[in-house]
Amino acid sequence: MIRATIERDGQMQLLKDIGANVLANACGPCIGQWNRPELKRGEPNIIVTSYNRNFPGRNDGRRETMNFIGSPELVIAFALAGRLSFNPLKDTLVANDGTKFKLNPPKTAPEIPENGFEDSMDTYVAPADDPDSVKIIINKDSNRLQLLEPFTKWNGKDFENLPILAKVKGKCTTDHISPAGPWLMYRGHLDKLSDNLLLGAVNAYHEGKIGMGKDMLNSKIESFAHIAREYKEKGLKWIIIGDENYGEGSSREHAAMTPRYLGCAAVIVKSFARIHETNLKKQGILALTFSNPLDYDKIMEDDRISLVNLDELKPNSSIKCILNHTNGVETITLNHSYNESQIEWFRAGSALNILRSNEEKGAVDKGTK
């Protein structure tokens, strides 16, 4: 609607007149859906946007791109000046004919166009009148979509001697855990998507190594996804250790589903971001925090972690965590924020398992099964 209206009212043309390129009516560069073939690999560069997120690699998949966010009017001013040190309130620009000029502040703009909004092409599809006849098609060999299999129920046992897949250092957003960009095409295919597990995460033990860690079975340094698949194949569950505000950013539950799918038993961090913590719980991964955040430093790369007395898990309880170092044993305490019903998610293997069994039970009760 806005695109059609600003085409009609001239704002689009004004922007095109200063050389603007109009991209598709979609998110595009804001979420990493942006191809920049002209940019050399590893070349640091500055972009200014009126977007909302600027995490490394967010807009174009390149960590060296530095995104500065401002209002749209300020971004245009920067575009005209071509440099970040420009202050339109004070500085002058030089026109093609050499004269100096200052940009006037933009006038107060109407929120509603004088002639009302222009209706754009009709791209809305209403639900079917006869839903039963609609078939949902997912190709068996599809690499974009895959029907889900339920996650396994908890076997009632403690987690003993689990390896650490990754001890993540510093900021770890959902973009680090499950990057978007080229991976967006697999968001309907859990198995293929899982290859992006923790691709952006900084390894606390090998800081230069992003997205990679040590395989405890063969001591090789490989991508986290590769190691996790090895563990999964051997039926070995594993643990993620994290820092502050772990899982910051988006609501994508894929950041909880891919580790769950590849065998993550628990994520232990200094603190969680709200949405991600809930996603972990819902997908059946134990979401835990260090009672003492300094205990994060006690975790060694080759440790095997045990979480015991899990059958005693209840609201506000703490969990005993045994760190089996190569040269000794240490015990620390972990906390959690599960309430009664959330604990059921963990026991059932995921919240979806409970939903499905209630539906089935309801259908049986109603005699519709």
């Binding site: 600003i6 997120r53 245009i76 970040l84 979509l145 967006l184």
Partner: protein, 399 residues
């Protein structure tokens, strides 16, 4: 058109739907006022207005009924669910696993995330249609089957489309996108959730949330010159940082709030996601009314006008805070005050949305940090800033 009105009620925001919502708001707030002896903020009114009936049917002592932020878990009944084409896939796959025939509450799918920016709009959209064909077909067929409204690629960004068609003051919406809070610009509590939360709500379950804290932002004065609504949220983000809003609703109020356009308010609530806030909200006002009327929703504006008292905080709150800022603690965990007349344009970055400074300090910051000065690309748009007002201001600078 009229003979399919009944059928399209299911996924649309109709006056019937809103009428029911406002009735429930009225009833629930009335009950709550019996146990709480102070004025109510807007966030509280909308939250309480959407409490699941189980809240009142279990046996509580009277004191238990007063909700404690960061402590109590509450079950809420959202009015709407919004999905985009990337997160929507997994949501629908999970919904299918649950085994239901139809969504229990109005739901829409918006195809905006899969289109990649390569060259320009038309050819990029065409390319996307070709490359993502099987995904769009899956989403469209599932939507048609399960009673979900479907917006094809090219319709625009989900949050703008939702604001133009589905959001309404006093409503509660969940969406599988972290910028769902954009709808707060229309006085709605709109929160980002994981796909499984959405699938459960689509299946008719209530939605559980830790009862949030409240951060009050008291706005006075009026934006002028280069300063834009975006700068308000950039300022708030720099002050609170990326985790400063966790488990909190940011509630804007004050005379300054009324001077901001509806879409400008949406820019502010949109980027509240960057401080980890549950969501952000503005009180219903003339700017929202105007926006509703200009987007063919005059009947919704009429309803909102009639029930204004449900869609705004109790007036004593602003009076008390204006008299003495210390009174804020009765209603908010934290209070931030901004004089819009003196606010400077802000720039945040790089690499984190909370690394901010006013433009007057940008050049100095550049030098101190050895940032590169030359700008490679400038980009405007996105869900945060693609309103008519934004484009007009940007075009004005270009002129």
């Amino acid at each position: 058109m009229s003979n399919i009105v009944q059928k399209i009620e299911a996924e649309n925001t109709t006056t019937n739907l809103i009428g029911r919502v406002y009735q429930k708001l009225q009833n629930n707030i009335l009950k709550y006022r019996k146990v709480i002896d102070r004025p109510l903020t807007l966030s509280e009114k909308i939250l309480i207005g959407h409490l699941d009936k189980s809240f009142y049917s279990s046996s509580h002592g009277d004191n238990d009924l007063v909700l404690q932020p960061s402590k109590d878990y509450v079950l809420l009944n959202p009015d709407r669910v919004a999905l985009q084409d990337v997160t929507g896939q997994m949501t629908i796959l999970q919904f299918i696993q649950a085994g239901l025939k139809r969504t229990a509450i109005p739901t829409t799918v918006h195809c905006d995330h899969l289109i990649q920016a390569r060259v320009e709009g038309k050819s990029d959209t065409k390319a996307a249609l070709y490359e993502n064909n099987e995904v769009y077909k899956f989403l469209e067929s599932a939507s048609r089957k399960y009673g979900i409204g479907f917006w094809r690629p090219g319709s625009g960004i989900i949050h703008q489309v939702v604001l133009e068609n589905y959001a309404f003051p006093g409503g509660l919406m969940i969406g599988t996108d972290s910028h769902t809070p954009n709808a707060g610009g229309l006085g709605m509590l709109a929160m980002g959730v994981g796909g499984l939360d959405a699938a459960e709500v689509m299946a008719g379950l209530p939605w559980e949330i830790l009862y949030p804290k409240r951060i009050g932002v008291y706005l006075k004065g009026k934006l002028n010159g280069w300063t834009a609504p975006k700068d308000i949220i950039l300022y708030v983000t720099s002050k609170l940082t990326v985790s400063g809003g966790t488990n909190a609703i940011v509630e804007y109020f004050g005379p300054g709030a009324k001077t901001i356009s509806c879409t400008g308010k949406a820019t502010i609530t949109n980027m509240g996601a960057e401080i980890g806030a549950t969501c952000s909200v503005f009180p219903y006002d003339n700017a929202m009314e105007t926006y509703l009327r200009s987007t063919k929703r005059g009947s919704i504006a009429d309803l909102a006008d009639k029930y204004r008292n449900l869609l705004t905080p109790d007036s004593e709150i602003e009076q008390e805070i204006e008299e003495n800022r210390d009174n804020a603690i009765k209603y908010f965990d934290q209070l931030i005050e901004i004089n819009l007349s003196e606010l400077e344009p802000y720039i945040v970055g790089p690499h984190s949305p909370d690394l901010g400074r006013p433009i007057s300090k940008m050049a100095e910051d550049l030098r101190n940090n050895n940032y590169i000065d030359a700008i490679s690309v400038s980009l405007i748009g996105s869900c945060t800033n693609s309103s008519y007002e934004d484009m007009s201001r940007a075009a004005d600078v270009a002129k």
